[in-house]
């Protein structure tokens, strides 16, 4: 449930707002819809991770990973046709971590407010 809310609302918001909008969205969604800390973190992580992964693939596959392989070298990777795997994973991971942490934060406020 939380995952879906995050995927859908982040997708819509990110289409016209900067990347950091995922943080308040995850925080708010988790405040209302999370159960445990663990569930909150992993929902946030997986939600943003999946959203970013799918979006990246939709851009990078038709590009045959031409750009991802080059940008890998900007980040000190050696010239290789497989840099895209690392770039896609790293990008999605960063999104996931931000999503997870934001959900964790939202969840922590929820428990407090219940008391």
């Amino acid at each position: 449930m939380l995952i879906l809310i995050i995927i859908v609302s982040c997708f819509i918001a990110q289409s016209f707002l900067p990347w950091w909008i995922i943080a308040p969205i995850c925080l708010t969604a988790s405040f209302f819809f999370s159960s445990s800390k663990k569930q909150a973190f992993w929902s946030g992580f997986a939600g943003v991770f999946i959203l970013w992964l799918v979006k990246i693939l939709s851009l990078s596959l038709p590009n045959e990973h031409l750009l991802a392989n080059k940008v890998g070298q900007v980040f000190m990777l050696p010239a290789a046709d497989t840099n895209w795997i690392i770039m896609i994973f790293a990008s999605s991971l960063i999104g996931g971590v931000v999503g997870g942490l934001s959900c964790l934060t939202g969840n922590s406020f929820r428990k407090n407010s219940k008391k």
Binding site: Q14, S15, P18, W19, W20, A23, L27, W52, K55, I56, L59, S60, P62, N63, E64, H65, L66, L67, A68, N69, K70, V71, G72, Q73, V74, F75, A79, M87, A90, S91, I94, G95, V97, V98, L101, S102, L104, T105, S108, F109, K111, N112, S113, K115
Partner: protein, 813 residues
């Protein structure tokens, strides 16, 4: 409500991470902002698939514009009027090269620190102190007085800005995202900056050296002998038998006190920055109509230096390349004529010693009167730091680049600028150079070409020309200051009015030749004319070897074809090697060689002077002759305190061929007296030793293609955005002038006739986006010495076989 401390810890942690991921740290971009698939770099990953037809509504157009893209994504722009044409050209160049436009303008204007930070401060100060802004403002002011050119520049500017206004942050080119800044609106002066940048590249002494103690150390006779005013071997651009059919204006006399100057000013030509062009009369071609070829050699970059486009509107249908930021076509052809350029390299930059009245530096001496110094404050914004103000002192000569105490240490570009001297430089002159190209784009015959050239100031170029009417011509053209012979070879005295530029060589008396007897014209940056030309242009040009090879090959051609020209563009034969290889080998003391050295000597003995990629000899020869030249001269000439330059390659060749006993062969740092044979042998052994240490035993690793290691780097040297190492032949002394980083930045061959046929490419692609398949798609053919067939579109009839995409621009009400 009661909050647990851990909630605030998590909130704090999240906010910290958000902040870190949204901030540019060191050379890295703001990470999450950059990696975000919705707004970050992934948005620049272009699909291979393209939409065949699309329509854009754009504000600022008066009619409809169709832009047809061919298989190399080269735009063929068709507009209903000129204004829309230049608007659309600006629009489409911005689409393909926006970051390049921004970066190069910032470079020229001394505004890189705004986006790069303190690293660029010295460079920014340098460009401002050299008066780049002074020159660009002078140019802009003059262009605006010409209604037609004013319209062109305004329409072009509006087109670029119309494109910028369509962008959202996610659309910004990837370099903006990496460096984390935004594109700003284009201004007409930016076009002037880019043209001034060409002068800075081609007509500036950015490698200005001086031998401050050369005269006192060696005496005037030696300087005259080693730095002569005309070379030992030459094959000038204007054939030697040409007569001058004009009455020259009087040339100023050299003032008697000129010998007071004890400092020789040397502007060694950066070899590799040069070019070839040639044109052949129909009497020597297979079609009976002229053929024309051009390949300008520059420091090659990605995004490519040049941009190909075709511009069609009532009164104009022209194809060719332009520099992003400059409206029109710079090198190209239409159905009637073709033209191209190579650099002249005449002396258009001089230094004047300034005598101040007192320490306030507010007045300086000219003749017997004191003139006021103008103080110009340059304000440099620096990213992440306080803004810097620099005061530059201007005289009527130009800016005093550095007064005592202002010259930075450890900044290579300024090492060789004399302190306390004012800079007189052609790039400061008001000029309307774009008018030359505007008229050439529409030229129909030789008369149009002659008329177009009169507007051109700098950087001086050898304009080559061919027409369907079977005329061929070449003109070393630009603003040539009227000088006494040798004026500006030495540093000049700013207080002596006789040392100033005395006007200019009349534009219609610039050296020129039309339809010479030999049936062809050519240039490769060598001397414009022989010593019979009545005006002094410079004492030193690029070596004659490329030019001589071109002329030799052209003289031997009959019924020449496009492919003959293509082969000549790819010709790796070095006349320099032909000149000195035998004398070098003859002077090697074979008895002192070990087995490896003997093997190497045997290889080079059989060498036929071609710098082919698979040859080992060019690697040996190239390293050897450079080592030898420095071995001969540097012991005497190098001076830790003063940047110095050794005599030219031409003078070194003369020494090797004509003098067996010169004192220069001796290494003055050793007690022994070395002979010619000694220095030739030692440098050969050192060469083989270096090659062995770098590449191991003699093997395929020694091949020239590997040793030279050509590659095309990104304009801002971003790793991953350049090409891989390209295995190519070529040499600075061969027609195919590919070195490690410089080379033919555009190759073009045009066959005129009832239907014009043309071929060309550059080491790059049309797109400036590293995420595009059209970023470097021409590199492979370029490295292989092939050419692409150029599609010359005729109005209203796009060829379905060549056109892959159409974009229509429609005026938005």
């Amino acid at each position: 409500m009661k909050f647990n401390l851990s909630s605030f810890f998590y909130l704090f942690l999240t906010l910290t991470i958000l902040f870190l991921l949204n901030t540019k740290i060191g050379p890295l971009p703001p990470l999450a902002k950059f990696l975000d698939p919705f707004n970050g770099f992934w948005q620049q990953a272009e699909s291979r698939k393209i939409t065949a037809e699309s329509t854009l509504n754009i504000k600022g157009l008066t009619g409809k514009v169709n832009i047809y893209f061919d298989e190399n994504r080269i735009p063929h722009i068709e507009a209903e009027n000129e204004e829309d044409l230049y608007f659309a050209q600006g629009f489409i160049i911005a689409r393909d090269r926006l970051w390049q436009l921004d970066f190069q303008t910032r470079f020229a204007a001394g505004r890189l620190s705004e986006v790069i930070g303190e690293k660029a401060i010295d460079l920014d100060k340098y460009n401002r102190r050299m008066g780049m802004g002074f020159g660009a403002r002078n140019m802009e002011a003059l262009v605006k007085k010409d209604p037609k050119m004013h319209m062109v520049l305004d329409a072009y500017t509006a087109g670029i800005n119309a494109y910028i206004s369509t962008l959202k942050p996610k659309d910004y080119p990837i370099e903006f995202k990496l460096l984390d800044y935004k594109p700003e609106n284009w201004k007409p002066i930016n076009s002037a900056y880019l043209l001034k940048l060409m002068s800075a590249t081609l007509a500036a002494a950015s490698n200005d050296f001086y031998l401050s103690n050369a005269l006192s150390k060696f005496g005037p006779e030696v300087i005259k002998d080693l730095f002569p005013n005309y070379p030992f071997r030459e094959d000038p651009i204007i054939p030697t038998e040409t007569t001058w059919d004009f009455d020259p204006v009087p040339v100023p006399k050299a003032p008697e006190d000129v010998s007071l100057t004890t400092v020789i000013k040397l502007n060694p030509k950066e070899e590799g920055l040069g070019s070839n062009n040639w044109a052949m009369s129909g009497s020597k071609t297979s079609t009976g109509y002229p053929l024309l070829a051009n390949d300008p050699h520059l420091e090659m970059t990605l995004p490519a230096i040049w941009y190909q486009n075709q511009l069609t509107a009532p009164g104009i249908n022209v194809y060719g390349v332009t520099i992003p930021g400059s409206p029109g076509v710079i090198i190209g052809f239409n159905k009637d004529v073709a033209w191209g350029v190579t650099n002249v390299g005449s002396d258009v930059l001089d230094w004047y010693k300034i005598t101040f009245k007192d320490d306030s530096k507010s007045e300086y001496l000219v003749g017997k009167e004191w003139k006021k110094v103008k103080k110009v404050v340059e304000v440099i914004k620096v990213r992440g730091q306080a803004t810097i103000s620099e005061t530059v002192l201007y005289t009527h000569h130009g800016p005093i680049v550095y007064v005592e105490g202002e010259k930075p240490s450890g900044f290579a570009k300024s090492n060789n600028i004399p302190v306390g001297y004012a800079l007189k430089w052609i790039a400061h002159q008001p000029s309307n150079d774009i008018k030359t190209f505007y008229e050439l784009n529409r030229a129909k015959n030789h008369a149009d070409y002659k008329a177009a050239l009169l507007h051109y100031v700098a950087p001086a170029q050898n304009f080559i020309f061919a027409s369907k009417e079977n005329d061929i011509a070449i003109t070393p053209n630009g603003y040539f200051p009227l000088k006494w012979k040798g004026q500006g070879k030495f540093l000049l005295d700013g207080s002596n009015p006789a040392h100033e530029w005395q006007g200019r060589v009349p534009a219609d008396q610039n050296p020129t030749v039309k339809n010479p007897q030999r049936g062809f014209v050519s240039s490769a940056n060598q001397f414009s004319a022989d010593t019979t030309y009545p005006y002094y242009l410079h004492w030193e040009y690029t070596g004659y070897e490329r030019g001589a090879r071109i002329n030799r090959q052209l003289a031997n051609m009959n019924k020449a074809t496009v492919d003959d020209f293509r082969q000549l563009q790819n010709d790796n034969y070095s006349i320099h090697a032909e000149n000195v290889k035998d004398v070098l080998i003859k002077n090697v003391d074979v008895s002192s060689l070990d087995a490896r050295e003997k093997k190497a000597l045997a290889i080079i003995k059989d060498w036929a002077f071609r710098y082919d990629a698979k040859e080992i000899s060019p690697s040996i020869f190239e390293w050897w002759h450079k080592r030898l030249a420095s071995g001969i001269w540097e012991d005497e000439f190098s001076d830790a305190k003063n940047p110095t330059v050794i005599p030219s390659r031409d003078r070194t060749v003369q020494l090797l061929l004509t003098d067996d006993t010169a004192k220069w062969y001796d290494n003055i740092t050793t007690p022994d007296i070395e002979t010619k044979g000694d220095i030739v042998t030692t440098t050969f052994k050192e060469t083989i030793d270096s090659l062995f240490k770098t590449y191991g035993e003699i093997s395929a690793k020694w091949e020239w293609g590997n040793v030279k290691g050509t590659n095309v780097a990104h304009l801002a040297k971003i790793s991953g955005f350049g090409t891989k190492t390209l295995y190519t032949g070529g040499s600075k002394t061969a027609v195919n002038a590919i070195s490690q980083t410089t080379g033919p930045s555009w190759k073009m061959i045009v066959s005129l006739g009832d239907k014009v046929e043309a071929y060309g490419l550059f080491p790059g692609g049309e797109s400036g986006n590293p995420g595009s398949f059209y970023y470097d798609n021409m590199v492979e053919n370029w490295a292989g010495g092939k050419l692409n067939s150029l599609y010359f579109y005729e109005k209203g009839k796009p060829d379905a076989k060549r056109i892959k995409q159409t974009i229509s621009l429609i005026s938005k009400k």
